[in-house]
Amino acid sequence: MNENERIAAHIRETIINRIATHEYLPGEIIPSERDLAAMYHVSRPAIRAAIDELVNQRYLVRIQGKGTLVRKPDHNKVALGVLNEAKNASFTSLVRNFGIEISNKLLGTGLISGRKYYAQKLGLSPDDSIYGLHRIRLGNREPLALEFTYVPFQYFPDIDEYNFERISLYDYMSSKGHLPVNFQETMMMIEAGDKLRNYLQLNEDETIVNYIEIIGYDKNGTLVEYTENYSRPDKLEVRFVTDYN
């Protein structure tokens, strides 16, 4: 690798990192070639080579008269919906590779009542009905995460009529005026038992999974979601952005 190639590779890596850490957001115009050259103390041809490569790799797109933009992910290829689309979105499990098609497989749905643990998590009394939704989240038809979601039935009385393999749960919750927008989350790594390993199709030697527990509140501060999410650490990564304003 000559000096110019080495610099281009470094610039490329830096820009990819900035996209990955959401410093450059999808649709955002990145600094001009001239500004980047000044920023990194390198020549403009080196910058141009780096950007050309990133355009080829579909990280960036050039738009005539506008500049170079971070490519927006296709609509059905966005980050796994363990989380909200809200700004400043908390723990976000992102699909490591861009361009993965997300789908859901329903494991089971049903009403639960008289179960203290779930009632406590949702701030309900033990006799209140809770609706449970167990899903496997798939990326390119391969399991990424196992997700157990519980919602207070009183806010979603017709929930059983919907098929959440096709419909987004958050779209549905939003239509009822109870979209979770505020989250309290706990994330840890735990050992996976046989059942979990089966669901996530983990190999014998892959024994650790990400575990995220999510409590979601709607805009009025009502507790509307309790979720347990188990995901493959090799396919999903846990990121979070914190703003101190």
Partner: protein, 236 residues
């Protein structure tokens, strides 16, 4: 609508969690025996065993051979907004012992500058620490503070406060991007943490920025899986 959404082992594991909470079991307390639990919940011992297994996997409890099940020490909770690193032992509540591994002024090489998103050869201070809980090493932290953030940083000052606090004394911290991944311990990490090489570790990486968007601190922590959990509070 299916009737049995929740399987017996899951339900029982949750019941036991409630029991631990309601009956105020403390870390280190012994749980009733498998036989007693089976009687108490009116199920087969095999069913209780699979419920206990789930609790062993998420480290709610620990098993001691030929003795029984005990409430686990609990995890150190790391808030995603708090970089003070004032870790306290979940066992004793006392501050963790912090050993200073290294302090050095250096120029960022290609790999490091790529991670920090800074130009190569930027002058930085590297500060390494090791956290121990009752003598057991549980976390390695490498922090990188650019010289432009804290010109003339000395070893004494570097170890007087957390890198984020040092940065905050010089500039206004505005934003942090963090990432948690599973890695397998290399030679150095396994030696420092007294593990066999290849043991799974949680890696916590973060980039902390000031209000002008300039990098203030970059850090990488390598943590024992069963000793930490991350929490993000809802803003209500």
């Amino acid at each position: 609508m299916k009737k049995n959404l929740l399987t017996m082992d899951i339900l029982l594991s949750k019941e036991i969690k409630c029991m631990i909470q309601e009956q105020r079991y403390q870390p280190g307390d012994k749980l009733p025996s498998e036989r007693q639990l089976a009687e108490c919940f009116g199920v087969q011992r095999l069913t209780i065993r699979s419920a206990l297994n789930l609790l062993l996997q998420d480290q709610t409890i620990v098993a001691k051979p030929r003795s029984g099940y005990y409430v686990a020490p609990g995890r150190l909770l790391q808030s995603t907004r708090d970089f003070s690193m004032n870790y306290c032992s979940p066992k004793t509540g006392d501050p963790l012992e912090c050993r200073l591994l290294a302090f050095r002024k250096m120029k960022a090489d290609l790999a490091l500058s790529g991670k920090m998103l800074l130009p190569e050869d930027t002058v930085i201070y590297k500060i390494s620490r090791l956290y121990c809980d009752e003598g057991t090493p549980i976390c390695i932290n490498h922090s990188y503070l650019p010289e432009y953030v804290y010109p003339g940083l000395t070893r004494t000052v570097a170890f007087s406060a957390s890198p984020a606090a040092l940065a905050a004394s010089q500039t206004h911290i505005a934003k942090a991007n963090q990432k948690i991944t599973l890695i397998y311990a290399n030679e150095e990490e396994s030696q420092l943490l007294s593990l066999t090489p290849g043991s799974p570790l949680m890696k916590h990486k973060g980039l902390i920025y000031d209000s002008t968007g300039q990098l203030a601190v970059f850090f990488e922590s390598f943590m024992l899986l069963d000793h930490f959990a991350f929490i993000r509070e809802a803003v209500l």
